[in-house]
């Protein structure tokens, strides 16, 4: 046995010769993010390591670009005693925990009612005249406790004519709305009687360490016997933590009667630990799409025992509950004018509405627009360039998150940079750098890279990645509209959803052609409309029913199977 020592954590463990560093790190209960699920292509699982290690392979050397002492945890193998230093970046995500929504009144299926008093002179059990069947042991326990007291008024919480809680001192009726995104999670605590938002929290999706996108995460489950279980546990722990944070010291978890959860189809499968392999292979079939109500105990989520955890319905394997919730939150289904709804992410989901008819699709945009797979790309974290423009005198201007020295470029910065370069013709419509203009920009174009600072740049390859990503989304829009018999010029509004989309500059989205050329309508940003949709579904049962009805009202198209996909995509690659 050999020793692996973690310097910063002052933790040691035993390992076997030939084990990968990543496996040692995970076994020690420590975390290194591996967005590509350890297939050795993303180069993000960097650690500093000394000792008896396998020599770096050419592939690893290429990804490391000659940094001394740094190794990729998924490629380096231990050969003997090793010391490891993990880098702890601030694991915070700049996300928005907010979304635009329509107003709805509180009209939940969960209601508080006053129940008959206990007739303390009668030998007949209270349950026999309570008016509702008692369906769980914990309610008998509560009645037993009330029998000991002298209380007068008794209240019950009912949901669709089922008694789910009983007591003399039932104060608040709370609910929690959640959006489980592939990258981030947002949650609201609500008062179910008034619909008021009492608290909000957001955090990174803890499953992200096992893969940055849905496919790599599903691959992780496939390759590891207990993969699904492990990812479920991580998510359940996270949900319980969110519940605790939302309640803080002010409220009790027994006051939470419902949790309404939106998310993409895969995230909902992974939450409940269901093998979702079939979503990730043609014909992309999920195990479930319908709304599911689950008892908290079944998931070990700690809210009121009689409460309900509701997974919102999805429309297909790649048009999930997050999109349906977003449609409801923005009343998109009520739009009279031809409109499109775009959720920009690794998978770009698109919904179009024409004369009340809705159709949806999703496109494999890849993670480039979120700053991944980009030479100097990074998440929306401290030091990331998040906005950028070039003025009339060809001087560049940018801002960074937290006003820190620039360390990389996040998604919104990337789109700004691409937009500005296209506008100033530093990038030609075919995506190539225009060297003729180099004098005007102080020679920032060197070796097929545009330098923003001495170390932060955007390369020709990055531009190609952006073209592929925006081309995929634009193709989705174009083909969806064609299917519905309208052109982009007829579209009056583009609704951009997603926490990421909110930070984008509308001019640059159009400049780079993410919305296809010829669009003349308005662009509106609605933020995280998924969590907002979950909120509305939580406080108003009509909204919940409406979301359930979308699946039958919405045709879902699988674009990659259509013949004209390639020719359309090639056209949309242009700036």
């Amino acid at each position: 046995m050999i020793q692996v020592h973690f310097i910063n954590e002052n933790k040691s463990m035993e390992a076997e010769v030939g084990e990968r560093l990543i496996d040692c790190i995970r076994r020690a209960g420590l975390v290194v993010e591996a967005p590509c699920n350890c297939i050795g292509i993303c180069g993000k699982c960097r650690v500093r390591a000394w000792g008896a290690l396998s020599p770096p392979s050419p592939a690893e050397q290429k990804l490391l670009m000659g940094q001394d002492g740094i190794r990729l945890a998924c490629l380096a193998l231990v050969r003997g005693d090793v010391e490891i230093e993990l880098f702890h970046g601030k694991n915070e995500l700049k996300t928005i925990n907010w979304g635009y929504t329509v107003e709805v009144e509180a009209n939940n299926s969960i209601q508080k009612v006053e129940l008959p008093k206990i007739d303390r002179k009668s030998p007949i059990p209270y349950e026999e005249y309570i008016g509702y069947p008692i369906e769980s042991m914990h309610l008998y326990e509560k009645i037993g406790r009330m029998e000991k007291g002298q209380g007068e008024r008794i209240f019950g919480i009912i949901s669709e004519n089922r008694l789910i809680d009983i007591g003399e001192d039932l104060k608040e009726m709370l609910g929690i709305a959640v959006d489980i995104g592939t990258t981030g999670i947002s949650a609201y605590l609500l008062d179910l009687e008034t619909g008021e938002v009492l608290n909000k929290v957001s955090c990174l999706n803890p499953q992200a360490q096992y893969g940055g996108d849905v496919l790599t995460r599903i691959s992780y489950c496939k390759e590891n016997e207990d993969g699904s279980r492990r990812l479920k546990e991580l998510m359940i722990d996270c949900m319980n933590e969110i519940v605790m944070k939302l309640l803080s010291n002010q409220y009790h978890r027994d006051a939470v009667y419902q949790m309404m959860i939106a998310g993409n189809t895969t995230m909902l499968h992974l939450l409940v630990g269901i093998d979702s392999m079939t979503i990730a292979k043609a014909p992309y079939r999920p195990v479930f799409l319908k709304k599911i109500d689950i008892k908290p105990k079944e998931l070990s989520i700690e809210i009121n025992k009689g409460g309900i955890i509701t997974l919102l319905p999805s429309a297909s394997g790649y048009v999930g509950a997050d999109i349906l919730a977003g449609i409801a939150a923005t009343d998109f289904d009520e739009k009279k004018d031809t409109s499109i709804f775009i959720d920009i992410g690794t998978n770009g989901e698109i919904v179009a509405i024409v004369n009340g008819r809705m159709a949806a699709t999703s496109t494999a945009a890849g993670p480039a627009l979120e700053g991944m797979n980009i030479a100097c790309g990074c998440r929306a974290e401290a030091g990331a360039i998040d906005s950028f423009y070039i003025d009339e005198g060809y001087q560049i201007h940018y801002s960074t998150i937290g006003d820190l020295p620039p360390k990389g470029i996040c998604g919104s910065g990337l789109i700004d940079i691409a937009g500005a370069l296209v506008k100033k013709e530093i990038i030609l419509p075919n995506g190539k750098f225009n060297l003729d203009i180099n004098d005007r920009i102080d020679g920032r174009l060197r070796d097929k890279k545009f330098y923003i600072t001495d170390t932060v740049y955007i390369s020709q390859r990055d531009i190609r990645q952006i073209q592929l990503a925006k081309g995929a989304i634009a193709t989705g829009v174009t083909m969806l509209l064609k299917e519905m018999g309208v052109s982009i010029a007829e579209v009056k509004e583009a609704v951009i959803a997603g926490a990421f989309g909110y930070h984008l500059n509308p001019d640059n989205i159009q400049e780079i052609g993410l919305i296809p050329k010829g669009f003349k309508g308005k662009v509106s940003f609605v933020g995280n409309s998924s969590v907002e949709g979950a909120r509305l579904a939580l406080i108003n049962k009509d909204v919940l029913n409406k979301i359930s009805s979308f699946r039958n009202k919405m045709e879902v198209l699988e674009l990659s199977m259509k013949d004209e996909f390639q020719s359309c995509f090639v056209k949309e690659l242009k700036f």
Binding site: A59, K281, N430
Partner: protein, 215 residues
Amino acid sequence: MNKETILKEIRESLVEMEEEKVVELCEKTLELNIPAYETITEGLIPGMDEVSRLYEEEEYFLPEVLVCSDVMNAGLDIVKPHLDKSSMQEPIKVVMGVVEGDTHDIGKNLVRIMMEASGMEVHDLGRDVPLERFIEKAEEVNADLIGMSTLMTTTMDGMKTVIDRLSERNIRNKYKILVGGGPISQNFADRIGADLYTKDASEAVRRVKEIFGRA
């Protein structure tokens, strides 16, 4: 106009995506009795090789490559009927497709276009191809190379299955195996025992020619 000048012009016009000019020049080669074989191997194919090089250097992108390949095909249409088949070298035979479970095929299409442009005989099985189909077709056409592609990490293992089945039937050595696609890496190719991995289409063509001694 002499032969050298006209072939050079064909190469340059192809790279510049000038379809009409390439067609005109190809017609002229017939008038001048330049053998179709030479027009193809010293005009059109080297022109497309240059396009591949530009693609590899990120100067050209998908749209340019597709346009150039259309230009090349327009030229081929003119001269091919006049081709003396016996003068051509036996082409490298390729069976390729996107593995079962994946419907994303643009990358694979690009490889096919570039392989065809360099004179290989490509049997394209399309997308979401049942794994057994790769083997059947390779046996049927007596292929030299099996090419498999995928964009999705979840379907990568299909490539290994194909290689394993070839080994089980003792026919692994009849074929070279090329793998590629977004999540594929040299590391993965080594692990599953593929002969060749390349990061893009043009490198694929170059390396395939190398391993068959046609460089």
